[in-house]
């Protein structure tokens, strides 16, 4: 076990007062930060000092701080959720930095994610994508008996891997084209793989993809940055599945 120590970092943080105001990078000193702290706790410490000094604290999104809710996220030194693989920002620890490091912190950048304030962006576009088809329509009624629909383990695993998406938006932030293909493909795959999702699969693929284009996300150029940055390590094989579902729906189904 490594012993905790304290280090100091120079932060360059994107400060922007509101959606329609120009922002810029401001420099702050994060002094005597325990290496056991998480990245967000480090910002908390900086914010405490800013507040005591009568300045505006840095706005950022966060909720569970356990890496499962998808609320937090920022681009740290050019990497979505920071340099660690398969990690959300809240689970990134200061021990991965060295004393005296300069850390540049920017919000997710995408036309579809306007900045609300500082590091907080409006990811409502992801909700609109889900509303456009990321669900199944099920009539409520008596609960069906267990095991009436058999699903092979392998298929269930694939669906679960896609369902691991927490909707944080890192794929959009990391994509050189600000495309939401990994997000859409995870949602389409999760439902298309399971029998409950098949009846609406064609409509779902068409609607979600058209919505993605409409919301101003870019197109996928198979750069694979999304897969590399996704905190849940969702595979781009889901994007290939989305494409197959889309071609099937567009060219071979009766859905318009």
């Amino acid at each position: 076990m490594t012993t905790a120590k304290n280090i100091s970092l120079t932060l360059k943080v994107w400060r922007q007062k509101g959606a329609n105001v120009r922002g810029k990078l401001e420099t702050y000193q994060a002094k005597d930060i325990s290496t056991d702290m998480s990245f967000l706790e480090m910002i908390d410490v900086v914010n405490e000092k800013l507040t005591l000094d009568g300045q505006d604290p840095i706005a950022f999104d966060h909720d569970c701080r356990e890496g499962i809710c998808g609320m937090c996220g920022a681009v740290v030194n050019g990497r979505a959720h920071g340099p660690e693989k398969g990690t959300t920002l809240c689970q990134l620890h200061i021990r991965h930095f060295s004393d005296g490091d300069t850390v540049v912190i920017e919000p997710w950048r995408s036309r579809a994610f306007p900045v609300i304030k500082d590091l907080a962006v409006d990811r409502g576009a992801l909700d609109k994508l889900i509303q456009s088809g990321g669900y199944i329509s099920a009539n409520t009624g008596g609960a069906p008996d267990a095991n009436t629909i058999l699903i092979p383990q392998e298929v269930a695993e694939k669906a679960m891997d896609a369902a691991a998406c927490i909707g944080c938006g890192a794929c959009v932030a990391a994509c050189p084209n600000a495309s939401a293909m990994l997000f859409v493909s995870a949602k389409v795959s999760q439902l298309a793989l399971l029998p409950q999702g098949r009846p609406e699969a064609a409509q779902r693929a068409l609607s979600m993809l058209r919505k993605m284009d409409e919301l101003g996300f870019g197109a996928c150029t198979n750069e694979r940055e999304c897969e590399a940055e996704c905190p849940k390590e969702i595979s781009i094989s889901n994007i290939a599945r989305l494409n197959r579902e889309f071609f099937k729906a567009g060219f071979f189904s009766s859905v318009k």
Binding site: K12, W14, L25, V75, N77, G78, R79, A80, K85, V104, E106, R109, S110, R111, A112, A174, P176, N177, A178, S179, L209, R210, M212, D213, G216, F217, G218, A219, C220, T221, N222, E223, R224, E225, C226, E227, A228, E229, I236, S237, I239, A240, R241, L242, N243, R244, F246, F247, G250, F251, K256
Partner: protein, 214 residues
């Protein structure tokens, strides 16, 4: 035909057009390379090959118009996607760092594509639209490639094409939905091998012609 244009008009539909036309160009590059290898057989073999091609008459005309159509689709769709993708991120990052997904090929696709377009125009002016009344195609080739600046341009263009193909080949399969845990490594390997073959296969020809012409 509304459903058809609607489907092709989406981002994935446009990518489908890029993938299909791109793979057609990979096929064209293969045929072109095999034909060009006759240059190593000397003047007579190469001229005979060119004559044989031209004797096909209407087949060649159809192929030329087909290639032109594919090129127009590939270029216009590619530019549309490129501009749309730039537009999707109005404010750029101050610090950009790859997480390891991007390659030299993938991150330069639009730029290598535009450079290739410029080269193809030059290439067609050099050989396709050259006056063949008093000289054979071999003479034209050896005259152009006896100039060091042209050798440099041709070798550079071939390297750019190889870089373009190194991403384009596997990317086309991924776009078509052909990503399978058993076959994807093979497709990626085949794409890289193909780009190396294109690079060395075409790249040595100008050097070879220059060396025997000089």
């Amino acid at each position: 035909m509304n459903w058809f244009t609607n489907t092709l008009g989406t981002s994935v539909g446009k990518k489908l057009m890029m993938a299909v036309t791109g793979l057609c160009f990979c096929g064209f590059l293969t045929v072109h390379l095999i034909g060009n290898l006759t240059l190593y057989g000397g003047k007579n073999l190469f001229n005979a090959y060119a004559e044989h091609l031209h004797s096909l008459g209407p087949v060649i005309t159809v192929a030329e118009w087909g290639l032109l159509t594919l090129a127009i689709i590939h270029i216009l769709t590619g530019l549309t996607l490129f501009l749309g993708n730039l537009n999707a991120r109005p404010e750029r990052y101050a610090v950009n760092k790859s997480a390891g997904g991007r390659t030299l090929g993938s991150s330069t696709m639009p730029y290598t594509g535009i450079l290739l377009l410029i080269f193809i125009v030059l290439h067609l002016v050099n050989f396709h639209f050259a006056d063949r009344t008093y000289q054979t195609i071999y003479h034209i080739v050896s005259r152009v490639l006896s100039r060091p600046e042209y050798v440099f341009i041709y070798v550079a263009a071939v390297i750019i094409a190889a870089i373009h193909v190194s991403h384009g080949f596997w990317s086309a399969f991924q776009t078509l939905g052909a990503n399978h845990p058993k076959y994807m490594p093979f497709i990626q390997g085949a794409g890289l091998s193909f780009s190396v073959i294109v690079g060395f296969g075409f790249g040595f020809i100008p050097v070879f012609i220059f060396s025997i012409a000089g």
